[in-house]
């Protein structure tokens, strides 16, 4: 494993080094030390490498990730794995606002809690939060799966499109056009797979599914009070 001391080598050198890794690289394991809450750590990666960040990160850790596995052994600041395309991001601690925002693919695992707007405008990413999530999570979520093993805050799934939301605990309130839906076998299959891949021992049958009521998909003046 190669070790990069962020404090000594600087952010630009760190990201340039990781971004330069190719598909066929034999140097597949990297460790980042002295992260100290720095922003934009391991952003724009595009190779099947494994990056371990020892410590907590600032904003946008693993932003726009492709292929790589980024493991944060601490907590993550706002915009964790924003617009992720593929790969895996795992955070041992908590995640701040906008975790997984606009993500298009890959798997984001948050083993602690996630703050507000988790999964905002998600576009295909799978997110599993072992703890709770904050208010306005999955706002305008378009596609993908958000799994919450704990509780969800206010206005879950407001203005939701086609993303699937699975919550094991309580939901403080649902947002506009979000409703509880039937948990069918195909949903249990998806949920089982995500729980297994994220290392959660929660039982799929303990979850409820939420999705779009699809009442606000086309503007209708009679729905004006909902906006």
């Amino acid at each position: 494993m190669q070790t990069i001391d962020l404090e000594a080598q600087g952010l630009r050198a760190l990201n340039a080094t990781l971004q330069a890794q190719k598909d066929a690289s034999n140097q597949t394991a990297w460790e980042i030390v002295n992260a100290r809450g720095s922003h934009a750590i391991a952003v724009g990666l595009d190779a099947p490498i494994e990056v371990t960040v020892n410590g907590s990160t600032g904003y946008y850790c693993a932003g726009m990730n492709k292929q790589a596995t980024v493991h944060v052994k601490g907590s993550a600041g706002p915009g964790l794995a924003e617009n992720m395309m593929s790969g895996t991001v795992i955070v041992e601690g908590d995640a701040s606002q906008y975790a997984g925002a606009t993500g298009r693919g890959g798997l984001l695992v948050i083993k602690g809690n996630a703050s507000s707007r988790c999964g905002i405008s998600m576009k295909g990413i799978d997110i599993v939060v072992h703890g709770n999530i904050g208010h306005m999570s999955a706002f305008m979520a378009q596609s993908g799966n958000l799994v919450v093993c704990g509780d969800a805050g206010d206005a879950l799934g407001d203005s939701l499109y086609e993303a699937r939301l699975f919550v094991r605990g309580s939901v403080k309130s649902l947002g506009a056009d979000c409703e509880e839906k039937e948990m069918r076998p195909e949903h249990l299959e998806i949920l089982t797979d995500l729980l297994e891949r994220s290392g959660s021992d929660a039982k799929p049958e303990e979850f409820r599914r939420y999705g779009s009521a699809r009442q606000l998909y086309n503007f209708d003046v009679d729905n004006a009070a909902a906006y």
């Binding site: 990201n15 922003h39 934009a40 904003y59 932003g63 395309m85 405008s121 203005s159 503007f219």
Partner: protein
Amino acid sequence: MKDEQQRFVSQTVPIQSATFSNPINAEIRRAADTGIYDIRGGGAKRRVPHFDDLLFLGASISRYPLEGYREKCDTRVTLGTRFAKKPIELDIPVTIAGMSFGALSGPAKEALGRGASAAGTSTTTGDGGMTEEERGHSKTLVYQCLPSRYGMNPDDLRRADAIEVVVGQGAKPGGGGMLLGQKISDRVAEMRNLPKGIDQRSACRHPDWTGPDDLEIKILELREITGWEKPIYVKIGGTRPYFDTTLAIKAGADVVVLDGMQGGTAATQDVFIEHVGLPTLACIRPAVQALQDQGLHREVQLIVSGGIRTGADVAKALALGADAVAVGTAALVALGDNDPKWEDEYRKLGTTHGAYDDWHEGQDPAGITTQSPDLMARFDPLEGGRRLKNYLKVLTLEAQTIARACGHNHLHNLEPEDLCALTMEAAAMARVPLAGTDWYPGKAGF
């Protein structure tokens, strides 16, 4: 006798109310009929102080002009010199503003790329991602990072020549957008990760940052992903131009794009377009002041958009301190939008050429603001590109003509002292003297 007297009594002439005019009453009736506000494309149609209210003074005994057909007047502009490793070099200071694929057809985006490239300038993506037509035909392409993030991906970020973080636009500062379901073709739906046929909302705020401190970090992330190569623009709608420009600079922008209320949109509420924001003319001097106060005028470049139509407008914007301008609506007109040759079809749609603004409905007779294959087939991207190139060349020649007449060998040498204003309002907004005086409202000492 009585009938004869009545015949000669003078009658009151019917007087239309200036407050309840026919257009206003028609809108009241339309609202009563439908129960919904009017949505349309374009920018503010109301009369506001504009570049027409300014004049150039030209050369005289105290200044001498340059010979029009002999002495050079440079038009080149470099954008992104502050932090980017690879600033953009353009032959002319007139760029194409961001317009989305979805709002515009693929061939229309291709034509914008062709025309801009032929004229030596850049074009810009929009709220829908980057299309191959656009990238393939644009020598210099600016990639917008919008709140919706439709189509956003790191590969396109790296394929772009510059990145524009869109905070707002002049037609609807503080507002998001809506691409109505009738324009959501299979291709548009796929690019936006949404089902076909449903309205696609574009958020008014970015999903992963709030405020100038966050924006600074967001820009850092974009630079790190793209190796600090690309100039980062920040686009703002004209509302508080001094403070917003100051904050964009603080956040690390290489270029500030400032869009006034005459700037177009694909679709927004008419009440928003006409009643929110500042005229372009009112935005420029405060933004330039902000750049000067930070000691960064010309190092952070300013692009002004919103109602740029002629070379005179270009020259006036540059004289007030802009480094370049952007055209959107005018570019569409150059391509063939609102052309009289489609008048019969405009009438069938209940409008007329020059007034057609229902771009969101996807029935554009010119085949530009539509996703209908039949309508798109009417538009030739090669011919559209040629027309746009011609138009951009004319804008440049006109601006050069004025600059030479003012004695300048580069468009950037135009200055406020070359201008006067025809109205008090324009004098106050542009901070140039009222014609025939040495005074403008707010000038110290008066």
